[in-house]
Each structure stands twice: as C-alpha cells, then as structure tokens.
C-alpha cells in the first residue's frame, strides 16, 4: 500500500517538476498582437490571404510582411480592427463578391451527353469538355458549393450554382475550383450582371441556350457607357454601371439581371436591397 503510494506519487512529482521546467525553458514567445489579430480574423481558414489559415496571416501581419486588406471575408470591419491592433493607418478596399455568370441550368441549356460519373465539375470537364454543349456555362455539379467555407452557394434543382450576395465574403475559393471560369469577382455595389460566359456567335448560342448572350449590341446601344461587347459576349463595365439596369428590359434573351431585384430561377435566395451591412 505504502510502496504504491510512494512510487506513484514519486512518478507524479518527477513528471510535474520536469514539465514545469520544460514549460519555462522551452516557452515560445508569442507577440500579444498576433493573438489579438487572430481573435479579430474570421477564423474560417479559407486561404484567401494566401496563407494556409488565419494564424499564418496573423503572424505575417505582425511581422509586417503583408497588407492588412488581404482578408476579403473580414471586410472593412476587420481591416479597421486590425489597423487598431497594429497601430497603422487603415486602407479599406471596396468589397468584392463572386457571381456565377450563367443562368443556363439543365432546363434552359442543352446537354450534349448524359453524365453519370463523379459529382465533381473538374472530373466532368475532363470528359469531352463537360456535358453542357455551351463551352462556358455552369456544369451544375456543385464543386463550388462544396468548397465554399461560408455556405454562400446553393445548387438549384435544375443544376445551376447561385451565390448569395449577402453570405459571400469574396474568398475566391469557388473561382479557383471552377473548371469553366464561370465565376467572376465583381464589386458588391454592382448588382447588374450579364449572366453568360459563352464567347460563341449568337446563332451558335441560340442553338444550345435559351438565355445566353447573343452579342446583339442592344444593351450597349441602350446604355453605351455601361456595357462592352467582346467576342460576341456583353459585359457590364462595373466602374460606370449606375445606368446599367436600363438595358435589362431591352435584352432579347433576358440574360441581364439585377441581383438587387431577384436571383436566377430556382434560387431560394432573396434580394436584400435596403440593407447593405458590408458596404464600405
């Protein structure tokens, strides 16, 4: 009885002394500012800053090797807080969000074959350039939805990815994973987009999609400052798009959409016009 108390107690005492000594001797100095910065960061470890996680970004911030506007999910709010912690001037940037420039779901756009393989857009794209006839349209297999750390993307029943304007933080993970480059980064302030990613000629687009841009120039004629046409595809000039909405009614294929008014068919997201919490 006594022997066991002594031996176990002895082991315990020895371990306590050793650990106590090791904790003092090998203590890692952490800059308190680094801990404070880590507190402020969103903690999603999304990698948008270029580091594997928030801790790496916090460390670089304290070391002064990176700008403090490299965290899109944090937005202006985090930039201000970081500037306060690090004692530097805040340089906020306009909020950018991702938009799927396509509304050709499996009902509106033609499929060239029935795809039965892996639920992954990159894998599908490897098979004869994907099941959609359109070379640029959303494949609808949800790779972007699965990778989004902020639950900001939904897949409609007809196979179209739709990104929530309010939930998107602009981390660009979906942009990187999309094999068809159909997701573009746009200013949050701009709600009007041309939802098409096909550079084919109008007659070709009409054959495979009901809602594709045919490059007819009508939007550009209506609001010359807000639209440009390149390779048979219209695009909103986001720097001067205040009047862009006027072309929506004129577009013959209805491929221009104002997300402040509504989302593409089948989406459960609702427009939030009045409240813009992230606006810088």
């Amino acid at each position: 009885m006594l022997a066991s108390i002594l031996s176990l107690g002895g082991i315990g005492l020895f371990a306590a002394v050793t650990l106590g000594f090791a904790a003092k001797k090998f203590a890692v100095e952490v800059d308190p500012r680094e801990m404070a910065a880590l507190e402020v960061l969103p903690g999603a470890n999304c990698g948008a800053c270029g580091f594997p996680g928030c801790a790496g970004y916090a460390k670089a911030l304290v070391a002064g090797t990176i700008d403090l506007n490299q965290c899109p999910p944090g937005g202006a709010d985090v930039v201000t807080k970081l500037a306060h912690i690090l004692g530097v001037e805040a340089s906020a940037t306009a909020r950018q969000i991702a938009v799927v420039l396509c509304q050709g779901d499996n009902r509106k756009a033609q499929l060239k074959y029935r795809y039965l393989g892996l639920e992954d857009c990159t894998a599908a794209q490897r098979i004869a350039d994907g099941p959609k006839t359109c070379p640029g349209g959303c494949l609808g297999l949800g790779s972007c939805q699965r990778i989004c750390p902020f639950d900001a993307i939904e897949m409609t029943a007809d196979g179209l990815a739709v990104i929530s304007r309010e939930n998107c933080t602009g981390c660009r993970k979906c942009v990187a994973v999309c094999p068809r480059d159909v997701i573009h980064m746009t200013p949050y302030e701009s709600g009007v987009h041309v939802l098409c990613n096909s550079h084919d000629k109008g007659a070709v687009v009409r054959k495979y999609c009901q809602v594709g841009c045919i490059g007819c120039n009508i939007c550009k004629k209506t609001v010359p400052d807000s639209y440009k046409i390149e390779n048979f595809l219209a695009e909103v000039i986001y720097e001067q798009d205040t009047e862009a909405g006027e072309a929506i009614a004129k577009c013959p294929t209805k491929c221009i959409m104002d997300f402040n008014v509504g989302y593409p068919d089948g989406s459960s997201y609702l427009p939030a016009v009045a409240d813009k919490p992230h606006a810088a």
Binding site: K112, Y113, L116, G117, L118, D120, T122, A123, D129
Partner: protein, 438 residues
C-alpha cells in the same frame, strides 16, 4: 497443359461471334475524308498543305513536330477543301485536313518499294517514322520511338500482341487469319531492328484457327506462337509481358527496363508496308459491330473515314444507339455522334442499344475487395479512388495511382457501381497538374 496468363483481370462476355467469322471487306471511299492532325500520343503534326491544293494518295499532309510525333498522310488522291477544327474522337474539336476524293485513288509517285536487305537499322526506323506508323492497338504511340531504345537497354525478348482481349473486336483476329504473310514479314523486320533473341506472338486461346495457322506458317523459324488463357486486360503491354515471360515491369518503368518490347500484330503489318512497300499508314482494319448495327463487318478503312460512312456501309442502324464507342467497350472512347472521323487507333466501332448500357446508381463501398482481386497491377482501386475524390493527392500518389493502366476492370466488377477509374483518372490528372505547376 495449363495456359499462361497474368494474375488478376476479369472475364467479360467476349461477344466476338458478331463478326469473328466475317472476312475483311474493303470499305468504299466516303464523299469526304476528315484527317485529324492529332492522332497519336505526342505533339500533333502541323498541316503542310493548303486549301485547294491537289494531293496524291500517301502524300504527306501534316508534318511531324519533334521526336515523339509522326507525319500524317492523305488517305486517297483528291483536293484539300478545308484545314480547320473538326469534331475529334477525343471529344473536342481539333485541327484536321478535309479532303474531297477525286475517285482516281492514285498513289504518290515518290513512294517507292525498297529491298530490306539494302537497309540499315537506322534507315528502317526512319522509314517507319516517315510512314507515320504508330502502335495500332489503340494507344497510338509512335512506333519509331519504341524502335529506338537507348543503347544501354538491350531488348532480348520481342513480344507481338495478337491477344485482342477487348470484347466485340475481331480486327486483329481477321488480320492474322487472312494476312499472316504481311504480319510475319513485319515480325522479321522488327526482330532484325531490335536484335532480339526471343520472339513470341501471344494469341488468346479463343482464336484456335489463328494459333493453328501461325504455328504452321512459323514452322522452322525462331518465332514462337504462345496460346494464352482468355482474360481481360491481357492485351495491355505490362499484362502481356507478365503472361508471356512472367516478368514484371517496375513501377514507373518501361518494358525496355526488363529487356522487353511489345508491338501489336497490326503494327508489324504497318512496318512491312512502310519498309518494304514504302507505303505510309493510311488504312487499317476496323471492326464495326454491336447489337445496334444491321450488319457487323470487319472493314479495311482509310484513316479519316467518317463514322457515318462506316454505319452506311454496314447496312445502317437497327435502332438509335444508346452508346457509340470507338474501340472496345472496356477502354474505348464514347462518342457524341457520327460526325467524327476514324483515326489510326480506331480498332473498332461499337454500337450498343439503350438497353445494353443501362446505368446503375452509385452505392456505398461494401469493402468486398473485388476491385483488388480484379486489378491486374495489384493496386487498391477503392482506396485510391476514395483519396482522389477527397483531393488528398499525396496519399493518392503514395498508393501508386500513377501505375494505374485505366483498364476498367475495377469499375466492371464493382457491385456498388462506383466510378473507380474516373476517380483515379481525376486523381492522376490532378497529380500531374500539380507537378507541372511546382
């Protein structure tokens, strides 16, 4: 006596009865040839003719670019009507030369027969390169590259692949039966080029007529005919080597690392044409078969013949096909339509009905290990596929995904219908992309 084979593999129904008894027929010329410039592994060739130009049969229309590349030749005499992107069997539109035949089918005067006894080994390899000869088994790897192993790799065993393990296909079968002379002359030429001590023609035991015939033809020559147990994928290079020699190609290595070279019997025939007759590779034997075609046939087709023409020659369709496959059902390429042309690797055109290709929804892996038993290179397909699907590339590579030959045996036996090969291919592509970027 027990027949030789490799370990693993599967026994799909061979379905060769549709066409195995049909003699080879010459396919009439189509109204238009679409000759793709990319038909082989390696750099695509570059068009060297212009629209409106008149070309003779066998004239070079696309020149090789680099060492691992071969030229492309006109399949008949006629006028070049277009040099543009056309639908390609690989699934996208790729550059092709479009020729309208003039009906004369006149050979180019520059092509002259030669006496092989006057030629050195280098001359022969050069002739094979100029003739655009590629591996005719389906992968279409340039033959002259295989024929020029580095000097330190001595080829002791030369194996000819007369296995034709893909179900439905009978093109090699008919060729061995009807043109043994053409094949055996190529075999002798290739033996001379490699200086091989042992020459084996491997034939699966489901072609007893071929085995009898070749044994008779090769009596008194050093060429050995080996009957092999019927199993898929015996026609794959590494599996054929395992079956014939018992040797194993090291992981990431080539057959020449263990002193072996493998060529298809149809490649041997093409080498004969190139070296002795001076003729480029502009035609091949192709099996048009399957339940959706009215009259299955073995056809001698010119390279660049549109598939729609092959269907017409074979009496048309019984019904709208559920799947159009170029090559065999296991490793062939599914096509979107009949507007694509045949290429040098087109060993068959398989037309299946919708009811033949009914798909089963994917289920969970039940750890039955049938894929492990079936894998001819002893991998763990389910494990690799699971890693690849989660983008765990380091683990995917650690489990030797790069050694997968994509034969489809694992997917074939999987009771849960998991797309194993697709997942592994996805993983392989991701690993290669990562290596290129770093």
């Amino acid at each position: 006596m027990k027949l030789k084979t490799f370990t693993g593999g599967i026994h799909p129904p061979d379905n060769k009865q549709w066409s195995s008894h049909k003699a080879i027929e010459n396919c009439p010329l189509p109204a238009e040839f679409i000759v793709p410039l990319a038909q082989h592994i390696g750099a695509p060739s570059v068009a060297c003719v212009e629209v409106g130009q008149h070309v003779a049969k066998g004239q070079e229309i696309g020149s090789a670019k680099g060492f691992v590349s071969v030229p492309v030749h006109a399949p008949t005499s006629g006028e070049i009507v277009a040099v543009e992107s056309r639908p390609h069997p690989w699934g996208t539109a790729l550059p092709a030369v479009v020729i309208k035949p003039d009906g004369e089918d006149r050979w180019s005067a520059e092509l002259q027969p030669a006496d092989p006894s006057d030629l050195s080994v280098d001359d022969m390899v050069e002739k094979v390169r100029q003739a655009g000869v590629v591996g005719m088994g389906g992968a279409a790897f340039p033959a002259h590259v295989k024929m020029s192993p580095p000097p330190e790799k001595k080829i002791r065993t030369l194996i000819f692949n007369g296995v034709e393990c893909e179900p439905y296909l009978t093109a090699d079968h008919r060729m061995m039966l009807e043109e043994p002379e053409r094949i055996l002359r190529g075999v002798a030429l290739l033996q001379y080029v490699f200086g091989a001590e042992r020459v084996v023609i491997g034939v699966e035991a489901n072609k007893p007529d071929v085995i009898d015939l070749l044994e008779k033809e090769c009596a008194g020559t050093p060429v050995e005919i080996m009957a092999l147990q019927v199993k898929y994928p015996q026609g794959a290079e590494k599996q054929l080597i395992a079956a014939v020699t018992g040797g194993e190609v090291p992981s990431g290595g080539l057959p020449m690392d263990i002193g072996v070279a493998v060529h298809n019997v149809a490649t041997a025939a093409a080498v004969t044409d190139a070296v002795i007759h001076g003729r480029p590779l502009i035609e091949r034997i192709c099996t048009v078969t399957g339940p959706a075609i009215r009259e299955p046939k073995n056809l001698r087709i010119r390279i660049g013949t549109p598939l729609s023409h092959l269907v017409d020659v074979c009496g048309g369709l019984v019904e709208e096909p559920g799947k159009i496959i170029l090559g065999g059902p296991m490793m062939g390429f599914t096509q979107l339509g009949f507007d694509v042309p045949s290429t040098r690797g087109t060993s068959g055109l398989l037309l299946l009905r919708s009811e033949d290709v009914a798909a089963q929804p994917e289920g969970p892996c039940i750890r039955c290990a049938r894929c492990v038993q079936a894998c001819p290179i002893h991998l763990l397909p389910a494990t690799i596929a699971a890693y690849a699907r989660r983008d765990l590339l380091a683990e995917t590579e650690e489990y030797c995904a790069m050694d997968c030959i994509e034969c489809g045996s694992c997917s074939y036996v999987c009771p849960a219908a998991i797309p194993l090969v697709q997942a592994i291919r996805y993983g392989k592509a991701a690993i290669l992309a990562k290596k290129r970027n770093s």
